[in-house]
Every structure is written in C-alpha cells, then in structure tokens.
Symmetry: C2
Subunit: 448 residues, 2 copies
C-alpha cells in the first residue's frame, strides 16, 4: 500500500494518531491536514491563560508543528482545509488557501473536533462578546480584557467552561455575573456538587443567576449590556460557554453516519460505517462503560487515547479505543469537583438499572491532622446487583479521588466490592476509611 | 444466647467490632476488656503529636471511653487484662488489677494488637531511648524533648515510623541521624520510592546511614551516644522503630493457631481454628488480594474493617473481612510515598507470577499549569497474563493516586485494562494521561 494514512484535524486525536502510526511504522507516510495554524494544543488550558497563570498561548502547545514535522516525520500541513471526502475512491479534497487538490489515502481519520455552540442571541457579533473554543478566541479575550479593563462580565453557561472563565476573569478584577438557564450549575455533576460549587461561587463574589435565560447583548460597537427577558444589566465583556457540538458536516456530506448523540458513530476500533475511515475525538462517539451505549464525551483523554489506538490499528495492531466513563474534573476557584459514570437517576433507569444513591461528607485528612477539607462524595449503584453506576466528589482537596470510582466502573465493581478496597491511609492523606470507602459502605447498606 | 460478645483489646479492631455488633443487635451484651487506659486511638497520629501538629494526645482519640459506654452502650472495661482463654468452655480469665475472674462468652474476638519490636541493643533501658507504639510512649517522647531540649537524635529504622519521627524531631529543631540496616529506607515500597525519599531526607538535613547496623546506646542514666560496630556518635535522644510483632502469646497459650507470618491464622470471616473465636487487627493474618495467601498487614484500615465485619458476623450477618493489598502511604517531610500489592519481584515469582515492571515519572498537573510536582510511578504486572501485581507512587503531591492501583488490584485488572481507564483530567489536576495511565501504558507494552 503506497498511499498515506491521512488525518483530518491536527489536535489531540489527530496528532496522537499520526504520531503513534509513524512511531509504529516509520515506513508509512502520514499526512495531517489542519485548517488552522495551531496543532496539538491544550484547549483546557485556555482559561488559565486568560487568568494569567499561563504566560503565553505557546505554552499550551505540547508539541510544535516543527517538531511534528522534523522529529516525528509527520507531513503536517497547517492552513489546509479538507473540504470533501470520497470514501469510494479513498480520496479527500483539500483546499490549501490557493487551490484545491485530491489526496488519496490508505486509511483516513476524521478528527474534526467540535465547535462552541453559538446560541441565537442578539448581539453575538458585538466586540467584547466571545465564545471560547480555540486558541485565537482565548487570545482575543485576553487582549480585550487588557485593552478595555472591563469592570463587569457576563458569563453565559454554568458548565465547566463558564466556571473556569468566572475564576479567570475574577482573577483579573472583573466582577462576574454567571447566568445558567438550568436550576443548577455543572448539571452533569449532579446535585451534591452543584450545591457546594454554587455556595462557593457566591462566597467568591460571583453574582449567580440560576434558572435564568439570557436573550442577548446590546451595545454600540462594543457590548454594553446583557439582556434577560425582563432585565438589562450593564456589562463590559461577555463570554458564552453553553456547550460544544461535534463538527460532522464534512463527514455527513460523505455519507459517514452519525449516531444517537449526533456525533460520528464508531465501533470499538473507532471505525465508521465506511471501510478505512475512522473517527476520533470531539467529533466522534465512544462507548459508555456503564450503559454499553454510544455516548459523546468531547474531552481530551478520550481524544488522545482513541487517536493513539487508531494509530496502532492502521499500522497492523488492531487496538480498541476503550470505553468512556464520562469522567470529568473541574477547578472552581478553591474547590475541585469531579464526576464519573451515570449520576442521573432517569438515565440510569433508561439504561435498565434501578438506581439508588448516597451522598456523604467526610474529611480528606485524619480529624486531628491540620489542613484537611470536607469532601462530599456521591455514589450511585444498581439496587438489584449492587453494581456501581457513577459518582461525584467535591471539596477543597481530594477531587482526584474520583479516579478510584472511575476505575471501579471499568471493573464493574459493586458497592460492596469497593467498600472492601484496601485504599491508602495515613493521617496527612485521609481518615482511616477514605471518604470513597465510607460512601461505598453506606451505599452497600442500601442495595438489596 | 445470653452470654455476651467478648472483645479482647480496645483499639481499632476491637472497638469497631464492639460498636458494630451493638448497633446491629442492641439486645446483645458486648464486653470489651482493655488492659490499658487508652481506647480507639489513632496510633498513626502519634508522630504528628510529637511534631507539634496535634496539640494533645486526647485529640488522637476518636471516641472516648465514656462515649462507648454511654452512647454506644458497650461494656468497656479499661484496666482489665485478659490473662487466659478457654475455648472449650468459652470463657476468658480477666485480671482487673485487684483480682481475676472468669467471663463466659458467646463469641470472642481476639484483638490484642501488636507491639514494637525491642531489639537486643545495649542500653535500651536508658532514659531518652524510646520505641513508639502506644500513646504513653508518644507522651514520654514529647515530654523528654520538651524537658531536655536535645540537639541530636538517633532514629533506628528507616520504615515509615522512623521517617515520620525524623520529620517530627526535625520540626522540633533536633538534628536527626537515621540508621537503616538494609541498603534502603522504606524497603516494602521498592527501589523507586526509596531513591526519591532518600534524596529528599538528605535535602531536609537528615544524616542518613544506610546499610548500617546499630549495636546499642550508652550513657550514664540518660542516653549519650549511639554505637555502631566501629563508631560512636553522641546523641541526646533515640527512637527505635524497627517494626512490630503481633501479640499472640495469649492466643497461642489457648491453642489458637498462628499462620505462616506468625500472626493468628484466620479464615475469610476472621474465624480462628476454634469455634466462636475470631481474631482481627494487628494480631491477625488477612488474605492478600494478589497472592491469595495469608499476609500480616498491621495497619489501621485492615483492623477497622475486619472488626466491623466480625461485628456483623457475630450478630447474624456473615460478612467477609475483605482481602488486603498491603496498601500503605507515608509522608516524608514534603514528599508523599505510597505502595500497594506486590513490588518485590522475588515474592511475585514465589506466588507463581512472572513479573515485569516499569517506573515512569510524570507531572501531577498539566505541563503549563503552575505548582505541579513530579510523580514517580512504578507498576508491576505478570508478564503472561498482564495482570497487575502491585505499584508505588512517590512525589510532592498525588501520592493518593495509589488508590487507583489498589482498586485495580482488587478488580484483578490487567495493565491494558488500567491503561484504558477513563481517569479525570483538567490542567490543575493532572496531565491528559494521568501518571498512573502512562505507567500502565508503558507496562502494557512490555507484557507478552
């Protein structure tokens, strides 16, 4: 096979696949088309650039384009947009800015990512109104804050992006109004996390507007106010973070099927319905470890490991992309909040489980040891089998304890089994019964 | 059954069993005989009392004797030493200090704990030479340091007690010499942990003497020097922490069998070879989750959960005491070090495995996010099956990540399965691939 492995999209999934394929088979030609100029960048780091914790956007780039080209011998072409896929003839049509050309492929990876949802608000085009999903937007927000020295910000959306941006802007002395349409922030993290994060946001001076729909923005050229149905609040800058949607148009136009979530349907090897066409990252579905059903988890680890697996598969070692648990973690000022699996009881019932849950609070260190924090742990299990379905943790430290729960989900452990896990104890690191064990113990008492 | 549930020993295992039995069956009489005056205390907190982080020894007591008696309705008798067990007639002989009496039991729990090993050193009886395994000893060390203002300390033993005491005494402005007979400190934590902890101890000003056998101490009444074979070093205080041995004499005299480790042999319900006689805590064996063989893990969680399970079993709900993984964690000044499972390749081979291991270092936060620390992770797996056998982590933060590995051991996961666990990622909490995932990934590449 003399045709190359072609990758569309130069971020986490795409570059992981390209690098791994080239490493496993140095003879293989690997071509990556990226329509922008940034590759392999840490989108998750952008709020910390705006906050000032990260000095330069370049710091967010893990591997530079030069390094991909020279050290990894990947034919990376930035400024190249793939505008068509022909799965039948195994070619893609590429626009390099000047002209278009056809590129044949042996295998193709669609890693087109996701885009920030742009809601149909009035005034979305005003200066000072931003979404935040790529590096240029992060740079623009930073520059706007530096230039305009805004006093008040509207953040629309109480998901992790909204909360991280609230922290970032507050650190730059901006008064933050946070608007969330739903009754609570961080909806996928469940009620126990939301309660503590909301209290904490208020403690940190954020004006929290829950159950509140924004209708748009107004201003001359620059944003001057955020509009609700019956209220106008003056603001000097606005960030809209209401979620992302997978970039699937290119794939759909080529007859590549999407699944129930709207992202590209894939099998356990990341294959689409077309031979030799794979999809991975924020544009693709993955299988949920608890439900076994397709899910859309547009997060960095999912993208990285699926890309890596596909890089192995196309070089002759079929490798599963792995299941997702929807594990996520977010820093909200001084709190850490994390979740994994299924926390929503209705979703659990839809998947055929009979959910029962507990929420406990316990300290992260021995009761007599200085400096601990209260950790609130929620665990959800199936009442019949005891099988763990999901969990969340929130507290001033210890949010990474969610990894214990995520690991238990992958192993299909029951609450009883987790309760008897021999977790680490010493006074500076936890109480004798780790908060996760305490939650499992209480939950075990509630299952049939 | 009108006879009570009798417990010998009022610490973690004993009081957990007594409390749980009374809670599950309030009609049952529960009698605890404790030969000392302290019950339910956190021995693991003693170094932090000596250090000054914990103000009073009373702070280390989780539940007071009064509370056990009044709130939990447990017939707790401190100052009562059980001097004989008659399994045939189901009685124990108790010495209350004035006289002895017979106490019948329906079920008996032997929770006699462990004692600090007292090596046959010269001068062990000198003032200022301490072991540290109970509250009175902790109080005595604290008082000695306050009264004598020692300039130099000898700590004998580089296990976790020795290292915690080094930190404690250093915090009180004592120059610490730490003596370890073996080539490395923290032997059960493996080479990668030892290397980093040793460097760190030296950085913190500890004079580290590895591969060095102490022969004893000398002094008039108070210790004045520590002796090696060919060297005498002046010291003003000494702490000997060379391990613990299970307190089994009482049980052995009654024909209760010990196992290969020298601790009391038990089955999965904590039962000994005698009907209605259980053993738990530091005096008892437990089953190792990886080898399936008896092990002796004298740690707090093992004791607490075995006690609790036995409290359930004797009240009619047979409950397994759970397997142990030998999970342990220790703070060494500014480092955290943790281990779980089998790290020793010879032990792995003895258990029928063909071990292969990796050690990697990775940051605990995204590379661009401030404040991270380098975490060194070791994982050991069976080369044929890929099954994980054990692991260790050491670093300036993140040592509790060992819990992910411990959970994987309980679930009998392979390196490949752990590699695909969906662990939490956000820049303040880790790199995209958590260090544990990176280690699993590299290890997976090395198994057959």
């Amino acid at each position: 096979m003399s045709e190359p492995f072609v990758v569309i999209g130069g971020d986490a999934a795409g570059m992981s696949a390209a690098s791994k394929a080239k490493r496993d088979n140095p003879e293989l030609d690997v071509v990556v088309f990226e329509k922008g100029e940034w590759v392999s960048y840490a989108a998750c780091g952008m709020p910390y650039f705006v906050k000032g914790d990260v000095e330069s956007l370049d710091d967010l780039v893990k591997v530079t384009p030069e390094s991909f080209r020279e050290e990894r011998d990947v034919d990376l072409r930035t400024g190249h947009e793939v505008v068509g896929i022909d799965p039948e003839h195994r070619t893609v049509t590429v626009d390099d800015g000047d002209e278009t050309f056809e590129q044949p492929y042996a295998d193709l990876l669609v890693a087109t990512g996701a885009s920030a949802i742009v809601p149909p608000f009035d005034g979305m085009g005003l200066d000072g109104v931003f979404t935040i999903h790529d590096m240029d937007e992060a740079g623009a927000i930073d520059a706007f804050v530096a230039d305009h020295d805004p006093e008040t910000a509207a953040i629309v959306g109480g998901g992790y992006v909204g909360i991280e941006m609230a922290e970032a802007l507050a650190a730059r002395d901006v008064d933050v109004h946070l608007y969330e349409m739903l009754p609570h922030v961080l909806q996928p993290f469940g009620a126990a996390v939301a309660a503590r994060v909301e209290d904490h946001l208020v403690d940190q001076g954020v004006e929290l507007h829950l159950d509140t729909a924004v209708s748009g923005f107004s201003g001359e050229d620059v944003v001057e106010a955020v509009h609700l149905d019956d209220e106008v609040t003056p603001v000097d800058v606005a960030v809209v973070g209401v979620g992302v949607e997978p970039n699937v148009d290119l794939a759909v136009d080529a007859g590549i099927e999407t699944g129930p979530t709207g992202a590209i349907a894939t099998d356990e090897y990341g294959r689409t319905n077309h031979d030799h066409v794979y999809a991975a990252g924020d544009c693709a579905e993955a299988r949920h470890v608890v439900t076994g059903e397709p899910d859309h988890v547009p997060l960095a680890l999912t993208a990285n490991r699926a890309g890596r697996a596909i890089g192995q598969t196309v070089t002759g070692t079929p490798t599963s992309v792995g299941d997702v648990a929807g594990t996520a973690i977010v820093k909200a000022f001084e709190l850490g909040a994390a979740r994994t699996g299924i926390l929503d009881e209705e979703r659990a019932r839809d998947a055929g489980f009979d959910p029962v849950s507990v929420t406990i609070s316990a300290p992260t260190r021995a009761h007599y040891y200085p400096g601990g924090a209260e950790l609130t742990v929620t665990l959800l299990a199936d009442s019949d089998s005891g099988r763990l379905l999901g969990g969340s943790v929130v507290g001033g430290e210890g949010a990474k304890r969610i990894d214990t729960v995520a690991t238990a989900l992958h192993a299909e452990m029951t609450a009883s089994e987790l309760q008897y896990a021999d977790l680490a104890y010493a006074p500076p690191f936890g109480p004798v019964w780790d908060p996760v064990l305490t939650a499992a113990k209480v939950l075990d008492g509630k299952v049939d």
